[in-house]
Amino acid sequence: MTGTSGELGDLMQRGYRFALSLTHDSSRAEDLLQDAWFSVLRVKGPWSRSYLFRTVRNRFIDECRRDGRVGMETLQDHDNAEAAVDSQSWHDDDRVFATNGAFDRVLGNLRAEERAVLYLSAVEEYTAQQVADLLDWPRGTVLSMLHRTRGKLRQLLDVDAKELT
């Protein structure tokens, strides 16, 4: 274990937010992070963001399998959508969004892996290749999922906004 207390706190919060992106439930995210934390301690793994994220994700998959839930799935058949994605697409819509409560609701309608890809890309600012390495997916799959998820999220937000008005 290396690093200052501040670095550790930052790592912890990032790990929690990543777990939250997977579970979309604060108490489950805390459990997941604790589980992953124990794993890192047990194997004396490095205290790095990518290692912790990978451990959190593996624990999440284990949990899904154990509970018989549908967990992370790859989208091998969407690899060819890479060309449709460009790096500016995060900024192509300056538009009206719903409140955080509605945003929470809409995110809850996404699948775990969709939220995870969104989180890693938008908040952690991982490149597609870094996300692909972390999730063990091909880069094309990550790009296509990112593209589809952004579209889906916008669509859901539009529907939600219309319902509110």
Binding site: M1, L8, M12
Partner: protein, 209 residues
């Protein structure tokens, strides 16, 4: 309603979420215990330090580890008897000072058990009696439950934090009691159902001298 791009909104949304202070404190304590060189688990066969930090971390781990592992007695460093009774640790309020002191004990007597195992049941009365009679020794008594995967996992996590996982990984059968020296990282005694209580007590006593 607010205006902005999707990335900003995601950043704001996740940026507002944070880990609860209690959980953060627990994780910080566990990580801090890992910084202590004396906390190395004995898979490296290094002596285990018995400082207070390790003790506190172990106490926290005990709380986290659920009811599968619970201590049955302790004695503080000064030799004063401090019985903390049979305390199931899962989700219950415990005496942290008691746990920390118990975790500082040099010797740990671990009973390996599986629910329904006749050997474990046979050793149980002798184990309880030892807890009562060896109250004046610097020894912590504990159980390592191997009944199912969850209990094994929880017990293993506890043992890791205590620095005694080297002795608990597949080495002992249900119904066996191992006496471990946390300072030197050695198994100093092994008790089974084939031994009678006086013999077990003698073995423990000799091991500790």
């Amino acid at each position: 309603m607010s205006r902005g791009n999707l990335r900003d909104h995601l950043e704001n949304f996740y940026g507002e979420k944070s880990l609860s202070p209690e959980t953060a404190e627990r994780l910080r304590a566990l990580a801090a215990a890992d910084t202590d060189p004396s906390h190395r688990t004995a898979s490296h066969r290094q002596p285990v330090g018995l400082n207070r930090l390790t003790g506190i971390a172990a106490g926290i781990a005990l709380i986290l580890s659920g009811a599968s592992f619970y201590m049955v007695s302790s004695r503080d460093a000064g030799g004063r008897k401090e019985s903390i009774g049979r305390i199931p640790v899962g989700g219950q309020v415990v005496n942290h000072r008691g746990f920390a002191d118990a975790a500082e004990a040099r010797y740990v007597a671990v009973k390996f058990q599986i629910d329904g195992c006749p050997r474990a049941a046979e050793v149980e009365p002798a184990f309880c009696e030892m807890v009562d009679k060896l109250g004046d020794k610097p020894v912590m008594f504990g159980r390592y439950d191997m009944t199912n995967a969850v209990n094994r996992r929880l017990s293993h996590d506890w043992a890791c934090v205590m620095g005694i996982d080297w002795a608990c990984q597949g080495a002992a059968q249900s119904g066996t009691i191992l006496l471990l020296d946390r300072k030197t990282g050695d198994v100093v005694g092994k008790l089974t159902d084939r031994q009678q209580l006086p013999e077990m007590m003698r073995t423990l006593d000799q091991a500790m001298h």
